[in-house]
Amino acid sequence: MTITFRNETFRDDFTFRNSLYNIRRFPFPFDRDEYMYSVNMEPHVRGKKDSVFENLIDVDEHYVAEMLDRALVLKEDPLRCQALPHMMAAQWDTLELLMEHQAQDYSEHFTLTKNGDRWRWINRPMGIDDTFTFGDPSTLPYPPMEYITRQAQGDFCIVDQRDNNLWMDAGMVTTQADWSLDFDIGMNFMEWHGPVPLAHQIGVFDRALKFLLNLQQGKPTRRLNWTMTVNPRLDTSPENYHKWGPDRATVTPENVGEKMHLRVELQSLWRLPRSNAILFVIRCYLISFNELVTVPKWGRRLPRVLKSLPPEIVDYKGLTRNRPIMLDWLEKYDDGSPTSPGIFPD
């Protein structure tokens, strides 16, 4: 399938929009009318055609614009991409995984040719054609993880496994929901999840860690996470809070449909073969409320979920200020009819 890549921005004039096709493939994260934390993991296997689950590494119409935005973030703040020295094997694992998936599932846009250790990588949308030696970082213009994650949508963390724990030892993080790689680098699983409310008390992270320590090669797993973002801004980092934090005060009943975006992360986790590390892909999808309510099921369900949120979660996700405005606006789209189970549009 040939994708038509959009020319759009995620900052300043915010020209980001979803096409009609892309709206219907949005990974709406709520499979029922109320919300609670759980270890909501499922096998990361191919799903419905024309959904974000169709391919395991999803490339969509925002690819080129997202890569441009990433380059801008890195130019201002190179520490968004870091790797501790012992992660080199895992960097190559990551490069191999992303190149293979993109080339296999989007062959019109990407081509990978291997001749022993001599690899040729063609990325047509970005005009890249490089030949390099797998395993030799000096043959690439950037270290392997940075090279490939400048060409792949989503944030990427590579976690090392040792001492029965997972360690955030490398990553490319420019589209994050208010967390910082520079702050978390070197932390273990319990440390970097420290700020999350409620979930610790019900043992979610103990169970999730046990599960991930046993993550097997060839059996990636996924979950969806979500928050809300004012304006379609990818880089909502703590480093740039001064730029996006004040946006929250700009939401009015008149502009909420256009300004407020549901932000969904499709998180997938992969055991890497050569390093035994785990690749954690955090792929961010944005959809404005205006776009979202064009799917009647989602328009009915979202206000119901928002109403059922515990106060700690409203606070943690930064929704306290604008929840009343969102609810007032969204409830116009809830006619009280029952909704079908699952996340997909009817």
């Binding site: 496994q161 097997q216 090669q217 073969p273 050569r274 035994n276």
Partner: protein, 321 residues
């Protein structure tokens, strides 16, 4: 329920290494490359022994970067439960077996500046793949390998030739040479990691010596080959599957469940990984924990059992499975 990623393989070669050790090479039936793996990883080999399903874990000893095939070495264990005897007596080149994806519960710490490996007997196998990796990445290592006799020891000559006597030290019981563990553990640079694989007594001895010499436990790594111990037969009821079953003398609960068609989760089948942790719903008797996974508190609670190696003595055991 669980996604099946096991690979049907053809036995490409069977090579006698010593009187008691054979090496097996597996290649995929579907012509696809084998997955890459990391040194220290094992696979579970499934065998059909005249209608009895046997699944044994074996360390991968081939080059982790070689995706043309996997190699394992199998020690023939005289009083074995059947797996090693089957591999030695029945398996021929051209036969079909099933091999799991690689799982690594004995991975090198990539931060290590130097790696010291202690092997006893067949415990050499995971280190063969690890040393390939260290040598590829130009990382300092040394191997201390104890064998019973020069004729019974596997691969010691090849390793000496490949890596040289400065990195490979061989100790032979018959010649009264033993690994000077205390001396080696006593004086190592910061950032050194120590690994041991072999008989239980050797593992305990090496770890204790290193701890006494002041090593942090994070720098000590071991892999035990725990075969499910035999014991008296007992009755188990699997509540979710609604199966009443008898676990035989030489069978584990996991094996009995599989024989009854219950698709229970597992990974290492050696009491180490935690994947087969199962909830005990009621227990009229005593749980015999043989794993190295559950904590003392978890054992004391009587609510959990690792069904790949642990047993039960008493009237009735009900499991959530």
């Amino acid at each position: 329920m669980s996604l099946n990623t096991d690979m049907p393989v053809r036995v490409a070669a069977v090579t006698p290494v010593t009187d008691l050790v054979k090496r097996f090479r597996f290649e995929r039936m579907d012509g696809h490359p084998m997955p890459f793996f990391s040194g220290g990883a094992h696979v579970v080999v499934s065998m059909n022994d005249n209608g009895i399903l046997r699944r044994n874990p074996y360390s991968l000893m081939s080059n982790p970067d070689d995706s043309s095939g996997f190699e394992i070495s199998v020690l023939r264990v005289p009083n074995s439960r059947g797996g090693s005897i089957f591999m030695h007596e029945q398996v021929r080149p051209g036969d079909q077996l099933t091999v799991s994806q690689p799982v690594n519960l004995f991975a090198p710490d990539h931060r290590g500046r130097k790696h010291i490996l202690f092997a006893g007997g067949i415990g050499i196998t995971p280190f063969i793949a690890m040393m390939e990796q260290f040598s590829r990445d130009n990382i300092a290592f040394e191997l201390h390998y104890a064998i019973r006799s020069r004729s019974h020891g596997a691969y010691w000559q090849q390793l000496l030739e490949r890596y040289g006597p400065r990195r490979i030290k061989i100790y032979v019981d018959e010649e009264n040479t033993f690994i000077p563990v205390a001396e080696i553990a006593d004086n190592q640079p910061l950032g050194t990691h120590l690994y041991v694989c072999g008989p239980a007594g050797m593992i305990d001895g090496v770890l204790l010596t290193a701890l006494r010499a002041g090593w942090p436990k994070e720098n000590l790594h071991s892999e035990r080959f725990l075969a499910p111990p035999a014991g008296l037969p007992f009755q188990v009821f699997l509540e979710t599957s609604n199966i009443h079953m008898t676990v035989g003398e030489h069978q584990s609960i996991l094996e009995a469940a599989e024989a009854h068609g219950c698709d229970a989760p597992y990974m290492c089948r050696g009491g180490a990984c935690g994947q087969c942790e199962t909830e005990v719903l009621s227990c009229d008797g005593t749980l015999q924990h043989n794993d190295i996974y559950l904590s003392d508190e978890e054992r004391a609670s009587g609510k959990k059992i690792m069904i790949c190696v642990s047993r039960f003595k008493g009237q009735k055991l009900v499991l959530q499975l």
